[in-house]
């Protein structure tokens, strides 16, 4: 090796080490603090205990908020997946007048009307309708925000489903609904599963909308409760926060692992899927 190669090799190793440390160090706290008998904010080798887990399960709102998260996510995910599948199928197979314009509009909407930009009118709308603290309404709002992107991705998937299957089914006298249920859905399953997981993860992690629309602690999902966990002294409750963070984060990571193992980590124009 020449001197230049040694320098380059050293630089490469140093770069990788720094990058790895930069990305990994902030996460280690999530692995150590939940099991530490005296959890602090700093990273330390834990004095192993499961006491924090007991304290978290005993917390009056912790488990309830996880249930709230599930309710919110199931509403948002089910509505998004079902409506997006129907819409994407129609857009993929039938040349509705103005279809291309509609597709462009959907693509624009998915990135222009962000939760941040629309928080004022959405808050005012729900406030005037008396729907503040309604989990179902909040789930619908979240679904509305996810639909354009979901339709767009699913249309891509359904476009790639061969039409010959549908033709054969039609030849044998299947009705359009039967074709959709028994032919298209099974073949488009990877796409639908991707949307299902994507929507669930998005809704699970959404903080702004539930934070705005669910002011009552009984209705709040984990994302919002987590930001309000205080101990008796009013400072951050370090017994519960690490465990609860871990409990709340695990489903997201598990779902990603599941999808990437089963269907490959796919990359759809800017959408985490």
């Amino acid at each position: 090796m020449t001197a230049g190669q040694v320098v380059r090799r050293t630089g490469y190793v140093a770069f990788m080490a720094v990058v790895l440390a930069f990305f990994a160090v902030p996460m280690l706290w999530l692995a150590s603090a939940p099991f530490d008998s005296d959890p602090g904010l700093g990273l330390q080798w834990p004095d192993w205990t499961l006491h924090n887990w007991q304290a978290t399960f005993d917390h009056p709102y912790a488990l309830g908020s996880l249930v709230n998260s599930v309710v919110l996510c199931v509403v948002a995910t089910a509505v998004t997946t079902v409506l997006a599948t129907l819409a994407a199928y129609a857009l993929s197979r039938v040349r509705i007048p103005g279809r291309d314009a509609l597709l462009y509009l959907l693509l624009l909407l998915s990135s222009v009307v962000t939760g941040t930009a629309a928080m004022v009118p959405i808050f005012v709308m729900m406030f005037q309708l008396g729907l503040i603290n309604s989990q179902y309404a909040t789930g619908l709002v979240i679904a509305g925000g996810m639909l354009p992107a979901a339709i767009f991705i699913l249309k891509d998937f359904i476009d790639s489903v061969p039409r010959s299957y549908e033709e054969s089914a039609r030849v044998f006298g299947a009705s359009p609904t039967q074709v959709l249920l028994h032919v298209v859905l099974p073949v488009a399953r990877p796409g639908i599963a991707t949307i299902l997981v994507w929507a669930f993860v998005q809704a699970w992690g959404n903080f702004l909308l539930p934070f705005l629309l669910l002011r009552d602690v009984e209705a709040q999902p984990a994302a919002v409760l987590l930001t309000t966990l205080k101990d008796e002294g009013g400072s951050a409750n370090l017994t519960v926060i690490p465990v609860f963070s871990l409990l709340y984060a695990v489903p997201v990571v598990a779902l990603y692992l599941f999808v990437s193992k089963r269907y490959g980590f796919r990359f759809h124009g800017g959408i985490k899927a």
């Binding site: 490469y12 990788m16 790895l20 990305f23 990994a24 160090v25 902030p26 996460m27 706290w29 999530l30 603090a33 904010l41 700093g42 990273l43 409506l83 997006a84 199928y89 129609a90 857009l91 197979r93 039938v94 040349r95 509705i96 693509l107 624009l108 909407l109 990135s111 222009v112 009307v113 962000t114 939760g115 941040t116 930009a117 629309a118 928080m119 004022v120 009118p121 808050f123 005012v124 709308m125 619908l140 709002v141 509305g144 639909l147 039409r163 549908e166 039609r170 359009p176 959709l180 993860v201 699970w204 903080f207 994302a223 987590l226 963070s245 709340y248 984060a249 990603y256 990359f267 800017g270």
Partner: protein, 307 residues
């Protein structure tokens, strides 16, 4: 009822099979399939976006007389925004945030990772990618706690690593901390996008560059960049748009101390909910919507030109 749709009956040869209604759905039923989704999008996206314009022209507020009978004030809210030092401050901080963490941070780090991981050993590549992706997929509330713990004054990991606890990073350098944080948070997207973009650079050209003794930087500038210029542009637009709308910074600093990290999204929230000035906040939201619209239109134009 389901008669042959016009496209099916048309005798002219069709080149795009997408126009053929193989499922026999018919336009009527197709519109029926489309309607529920469009209804939800109409209620929760299009209507709010349009309503923002109207609310922004009133003095609507959360409490007081203006909450029950808001008055039409024309462009007063926009005139006020021009004079509002706090809004100017929010715009400036958002610009810093976007340029620092998206245009420079995520873009450069994302490209560097994609570039240097190409030839890396599989275990190294997988490990680095796993951590970069994890920082992207973890829920924002959890990520916020991770960084609060990292940057805390007394027990923070960063202080311990540097051997000098006592610096309250989020209080003393709030914007710089947020920029580093958001670079950490969002680099995965650029890394993946550039990873797939680099696959289109012909290996023979890289080979030629190496054989004539071009340095790494020269290769990137003269061989790689011309191929991925379009990707750089679209990537920068997307991550800038997301960063400008990012609300996660609220979870780390809530805009403080003393408005020093109050980007436009946090400014809107504080005006609307904390101060109850819904009309004013809606006017600012409308400006944000306009900026988003312009960026998204440019993005679509670029995509169209490429394909």
């Amino acid at each position: 009822m389901v008669s042959a749709p016009p496209a099916e009956a048309a005798p002219k040869p069709r080149r795009d099979p997408g126009n053929r209604d193989t499922a026999g759905l018919g336009v009527g039923r197709a519109v029926g399939f489309l309607a529920p989704g469009m209804l939800l999008i109409g209620i929760f996206l299009i209507f709010p976006a349009l309503w923002t314009i109207y609310i922004g022209l009133t003095n609507y507020s959360l409490t007081g007389t203006a909450s029950t009978s808001p008055a039409f004030v024309g462009l007063d809210n926009f005139a006020e925004a021009l004079d509002d030092g706090l809004f100017g401050n929010a715009l400036w901080l958002t610009l810093l945030y976007v340029i620092g963490s998206a245009v420079l941070g995520q873009n450069i780090l994302g490209f560097a990772l994609a570039w240097f991981l190409r030839g890396a050993r599989p275990w190294l590549r997988r490990t680095v990618e796993a951590f970069v992706l994890l920082s992207w997929i973890l829920p924002s509330v959890v990520v916020a706690y991770l960084w609060i713990a990292l940057l805390d004054r007394d027990g923070g990991t960063l202080g311990a690593l540097l051997g000098s606890p006592g610096t309250a990073w989020l209080v003393e350098y709030p914007m710089a901390s947020l920029i580093v944080f958001n670079t950490w948070r969002g680099t995965a997207f650029s890394m993946m996008l550039y990873g797939s973009a680099l696959a289109v650079v012909p290996p023979s050209q890289l080979e030629t560059a190496r054989s004539v003794g071009a340095s790494g930087w020269q290769t990137v500038r003269d061989v790689v960049f011309p191929h991925i210029r379009g990707h750089v542009l679209t990537n920068t637009l997307l991550i800038s748009l997301w960063t400008a709308n990012d609300f996660t910074s609220f979870l780390l600093t809530a805009g403080g101390p003393n408005h020093e990290s109050e980007t436009v999204p946090v400014f809107i929230y504080r005006q609307a909910i904390s101060s109850g000035r819904l009309g004013y906040a809606a006017a600012i939201s409308f400006l944000l919507l306009l900026v988003n619209l312009v960026v998204a239109l440019v993005y679509l134009l670029l995509l169209r030109k490429r394909s």
